[in-house]
């Protein structure tokens, strides 16, 4: 794999990380902490939405994020033929 290919691979990887980590930040620090009072005025069944994100929703999203990352990276590895 030559240097320019490597650079491209790394850049795409970083782009995925930036997107996924923004979502990670948004659901926990955003919805669960900084915006919790505003979101608490919205209801999700018996839950106040902000409280739900802090104690349930953020954790579900974390799990999904990792599996999405696994899929994206497996595809990326194949594209650049660096998969094993």
């Amino acid at each position: 794999m030559d240097t320019s290919q490597r650079k491209k691979y790394w850049k795409e990887n970083l782009r995925y990380l930036a997107i996924l980590l923004s979502i990670w930040f948004l659901v926990s620090y955003g919805f669960g902490i900084l915006l919790v009072d505003q979101l608490n005025s919205i209801r999700l069944g018996g839950f106040k939405l902000g409280f739900w994100f802090a104690q349930q929703g953020s954790i579900f999203v974390f799990v999904i994020l990792i599996f999405v990352y696994v899929r994206l990276m497996n595809k990326l590895d194949k594209k650049y033929k660096v998969n094993e």
Binding site: Y9, L21, A54, F60, F62, V63, I66, Y69, N83
Partner: protein, 591 residues
């Protein structure tokens, strides 16, 4: 059959299982001892990581902490799960590609410096020892509560079991026992949770149940908020911590989780980079099952408790209450002399634990010396939430015995993972890498085994004689991991320009300021007492959250210093290029 008999049977069976696995998975080389030969499947590694991660505190304490702190408890839920996203995206795949045995290995090689390696070893030892002491204590406590033996005897039994499989199998033995332990602990956690959720709301899924309505059609959380605000508590779904503090504590726990050596080394055991990513996903999935159930149990337990005890005459209280009063986890003083229990905000007692006298009061309650001035009459230990829940809900005896086995599985699996880090730090990072590089693999393996033995003995000693600061060490362990390992590793992967001088200066600065802050505001070891109170916290950040600041200081110092010092040598930059590309990781490298 009695609870006692059931407990002996179930705990005995699980222990026999762990020992059987240990004999089956003996390690024959250092590679098997340190990283289980690098051949663990992602699913098995995910299960083992989850067991490794969830300690006695997660199993027994978590639901209780949330039950008694409501929204504020979210810091633990998010903090101890969100770290896995960082781990999966920023650390695990690259460290797996790097392919050595330990975290100090990476730090030492990437920063071409034995000083950096030594700083990392010291931090790893410190973090692991503080953490393991609490686990051994946890084993003792579970034994003493369920099997009626002395706490110290419980610690000895725990030491013997852990030693057995750590000594024989190293990482290989630990990995496969942890797989079994995860199954035991999650079954033990979920069975009572499902029963209780069904009883409270008719929905068997606790995660949905606690957002549903009870028989009267009122949502459970609204009812609980109402019960609490009526009595002057903060509403359950509102916190009493400041937003800044919640933010910083959550961040410190996440960064610390991603930086804990006993978690990181689990990802050295899988065959490929791809597997490291996937097994981080599995690990978090398995952890999330418990972590999303805990807040549900917390709500059920708190509601149940408030409804059962509030203004109930002591004479009519259910038997579980008096049983746990006998063990000292509950204490009641009839302050307004009406014979009824008033459970109100504020501490019921002076100090941390009730001090019981031998005599009984007018209603048969145990008399305590140190009841406080406030109106609150009831002292409740938070651990009771998980321990007593099956009894409060009237579940069969075998379920209660199962909880004991689950608590032991949680404590033992975490202790074993930590002990491995300690023994590896001594035999590999200190002896093989620094003091005696020429020893043979066979010799190193025996040194590793004896360091494990030594580590168990030391951990057992701390379990029996817990140093006063053990209760507050969790803050310390996470703070130190967040302010040292996490930034050092991430910079090592994502910045090619980061050099030896920057990394060492960063780690020392981060560790230094975090230690100082915790020593001053948590332990009271430095500074004047009158200037070390909560109102003197810097920017209102509690010691638990200060690891985040330590991490930022580490980053800032590292970048500043590296700007004014020489770039890392060519071959180190090559290492960085190498670990960024997944292919060709092969097996974990021999030395």
């Amino acid at each position: 059959m009695s609870i006692q008999t059931w407990t002996f049977i179930i705990v005995g069976l699980t222990f026999a299982l762990y020992i059987g696995i240990a004999i089956w998975s003996r390690a024959a080389s250092t590679k098997e001892f340190y990283v289980a030969g690098g051949g663990v499947s992602p699913l098995a590694n995910g299960l083992a990581t989850a067991a490794d991660w969830m300690s006695a505190a997660s199993f027994l304490g978590m639901a209780g902490i949330i039950a008694f702190s409501g929204y504020d408890g979210s810091v633990y839920l998010m903090g101890w799960t969100g770290g896995y996203v960082l781990l999966a995206l920023l650390l695990a795949p690259y460290l797996r590609k790097f392919g050595k045995f330990t975290v100090p290995d990476f730090i030492g090689d990437r920063y071409y410096s034995n000083v950096a390696r030594t700083v990392a070893v010291v931090a790893a030892l410190f973090v692991s020892f503080t953490y393991v002491a609490g686990q051994m204590r946890g084993v003792g406590v579970v034994f003493s509560r369920f099997l009626d033996v002395d706490v110290n005897t419980g610690v000895y039994i725990g030491m013997a079991v852990v030693l057995f499989y750590a000594f024989l199998g190293g990482m290989k033995g630990i990995t496969y026992t942890q797989v079994a332990q995860y199954c035991v602990l999650i079954f033990a956690f979920m069975v009572p949770a499902i029963f209780i959720s069904l009883m409270a709301t008719g929905n068997p899924v606790p995660q949905i149940g606690f957002g549903s309505a009870g028989e009267d059609g009122v949502y459970l959380l609204d009812k609980l908020d109402g019960l609490m605000t009526d009595l002057g508590f903060t509403a359950y779904t509102d916190g009493s911590k400041s937003t800044t503090d919640v933010f910083f504590i959550t961040a410190a726990l996440m960064l610390g989780t991603a930086g804990l050596p006993h978690v990181i080394i689990r990802f050295f055991t899988v065959p490929k980079v791809r597997d490291a990513r996937k097994s981080a996903g599995y690990a978090l999935l398995f952890i999330a099952i418990l972590y999303t159930t805990a807040p549900a149990i917390a709500v059920f337990a708190r509601t149940n408790l408030m409804k059962t005890v509030q203004d109930t005459p002591y004479k009519e209280i259910p038997t579980w209450f008096t049983k746990w009063e006998d063990t000292g986890l509950i204490a009641w003083t009839d302050k307004n002399e009406d014979g009824k229990i008033q459970y109100l905000p504020g501490p019921a007692i002076d100090g941390k634990k009730p001090e019981f006298s031998e005599s009984r009061g007018d209603y048969g309650e145990r008399i305590i010396y140190n009841f406080g001035k406030g109106k609150n009459e009831l002292y409740i230990d938070r651990d009771i939430t998980v321990l007593a829940n099956p009894e409060i809900a009237g579940l069969p005896n075998w379920v209660i015995a199962l909880v004991a086995a689950g608590g032991l599985a949680a404590a033992l699996s975490t202790a074993a993972g930590l002990l491995l880090v300690i023994s590896t730090s001594i035999s590999h990072d200190l002896i093989k890498k620094q003091l005696a590089p020429d020893i043979s693999d066979k010799k190193e393996l025996w040194i590793a085994r004896f360091s494990a033995l030594l580590a168990v003995v030391v951990a057992g000693y701390f379990g029996i004689h817990p140093p006063g600061f053990v209760a507050s060490v969790v803050a310390l362990a996470f703070g130190l991991a967040a302010s040292s390992f996490f930034p050092a590793i991430v910079m090592g992967i994502f910045s090619k320009r980061m050099n030896r001088e920057g990394a060492i200066a960063g780690m020392v600065a981060g560790l230094g300021i975090t230690c100082y802050y915790i020593a001053r505001f948590k332990l009271g070891w430095v500074g004047q007492e009158e200037t070390s109170k909560a109102e003197h916290w810097w920017w209102g950040i509690s010691p638990e959250g200060f690891g985040t600041v330590g991490m930022l200081v580490n980053l800032a110092v590292a970048f500043l210093v590296s700007k004014f010092t020489a770039s890392p040598p060519e071959e180190v930059q090559e290492i960085v290029e190498h670990i960024r590309i997944p292919s060709g990781s092969g097996e974990a490298l021999e030395h």
